[in-house]
Amino acid sequence: MSTPLLSVKDMRITFHVNGGRDQLHAVDGVSFDLASGESLGIIGESGSGKSTIARAVLSLLRITRGEITMEGKTIVTPQSPGKPGNYGVQIIFQDPHAALNPRSKIIRSLVEPLEIQGKGNASSRRDMALEMLAKVGINRALADRYPHELSGGQKQRINIARALLLRPKILVADEATAALDVSIQADILNLYKDLQDEFGLSFIVITHDLAVASYVSDRIAVMYLGRFVELGPSATLATKSAHPYTRALMSAEPEALPRRLQKQDRLVLRGEIPSPVTPPSGCRFRTRCPIATDLCAAEAPPWREMSPGHYSACHFAEEVMAGKPLDGSDKPQNLESVK
């Protein structure tokens, strides 16, 4: 196999909380690869550690264990944190206002990172910025406007343009469309696909919206309480998931369909995500898992490859994949029943 573009190996990120008394492993042993031009979705409830992974991949925080490599070269270890922005990863966040200076014209926010990196001269930087605006579908005339004169969708495009000007290989989108209206979201998701085609750009798309993840990602990682619980091709997760948590997330997401086509056996998870300071023993999902047994409390399920490229951490992954009912009944549940 060729060397992956990005490789995260057994990464742990620990925060000290409660005045330093307690350790919180926000990310606890996560590994994944990202190929060039690939798009990986990371989904999971809030608090599961998705943004912490994003910040680590950008070297915005120090990792506690493991390493991150880019094209085979080690760039981040606990001893030597990487330099943000230096190795081809850029990020866009949920809040489109946050990254733009409200008192500067758009063009200023775009050329500033280029200045800092010492790229070109004043006029070539302006040209590069205007060209990039056109690429993300923003009229050049808006370059001399201020952020408050633009809509949320336009600002998010400008954030994307700003990130792309630094010629990243990977763009991390952390809930970047969560605050946008569906029609604007559709535009931005289409733009991701265009950028993948045009620049061969790779994406890490962090979202709590499974449909968004399925739409833009080649593969999806499902995260729960600091760990990946399942990872595989998007289509496989949608139809043959091998983890109860993934099935619960799929089942919880309401689809805009007439009543007669809506899932009848919607699985609603009990309770909320526990505190990562004191995670449950064994399988971390067991306090909410509808099919947990004593084994789940005693032993953490290993990360197993169920089919090529499809991994799951569940003692009963085979049964779940075969459609084991998750509501205590004995009728098999077919994920494809809704079509």
Binding site: E45, Y215, L269
Partner: protein, 344 residues
Amino acid sequence: MKPVSYRDPSLTDNAAQPLLSVSDLSVYFRAGRKSSNRVVDNVTFDVARGETVGLVGESGSGKTVTGLSLLGLLPEGIAWTEGQIGFDGKDIGKMSESEMRRLRGRHISMIFQEPMTALDPVFTIGEQLTETLRTHFPMSKREARERAITALEDVGIPLPHKRVEEYPHHLSGGMRQRAMIAIALACEPDLLIADEPTTALDVTIQAQIIDLIMKIVSDRNTALIFISHNLGVVSQVCDRMITMYAGQVVEDSVTDEVLEQPLHPYSSGLLASVPRKSVSSSRLPSIPGRVPSPDAMPPGCRFEPRCTFAQAGCEAAQVLHRRADGRVVRCHRHDQLTLKGALT
């Protein structure tokens, strides 16, 4: 505990008459010294007892303002309304503030996306519940406290006798949402207005809250106006769906009918732009352009600048057509167009 009758004897309970009847409601906001913007324009719809109605549309289309005006909660001095809001046969618009106060919380309640807009950080959950109950029903403090505990239990809050003593900031996001719902529903109102109540929540917690709201409104025959930009949630919760665009109602139909066969190009466009798990590689259709701002409304059909079906006749202002099949749509081409729905 002696039973409290939540039924208000003054209510007519006339099944033939809608519980809520909004006609030609317009809402204006002051904009500058002499001008104003009409942000809600001649909105007309009815809600029957026990009916669940979704209010959908992009942000800025006037959903929240419509909801607030039904409760008389628009910011005083800068906003005013025109038109009639009939509730159980009485005109809310003509009520005094003290009459409104008796109605709010007792007959009509509202819940919000952010529970802290409704919860008071300096009072315990129990104090806020008993306050609401005692405002509307004659009962002792002790009795109100017991009812508060039951109310928390009804919304699935674990250890309710402990939670009554807690302040809102001690609760998780999902639990705060439940506490707000408990307060809004404590007096068993006839109409609940829910403004994006699950938008900030994870899908798992959203599913819990949806189930809770659906169970309570159906058990108690409470009418529900569910404001959301999430068509998936609305298709699960609501019998009927009203689509708003730029301050106007553009479609009002039974939810399943809109999903299968929308009548307004805007409803169709919204449905198409929702990403779906089942469909992946194709491009997502989106609606070009953006919602016009209230001070620059197109003179004709407000959707015309973004509509791919626009033609002669669309430059004229559009009226609501009441069709023979009972559906309501604001587009003169409604019987010429066959638009894409959720399944096409």
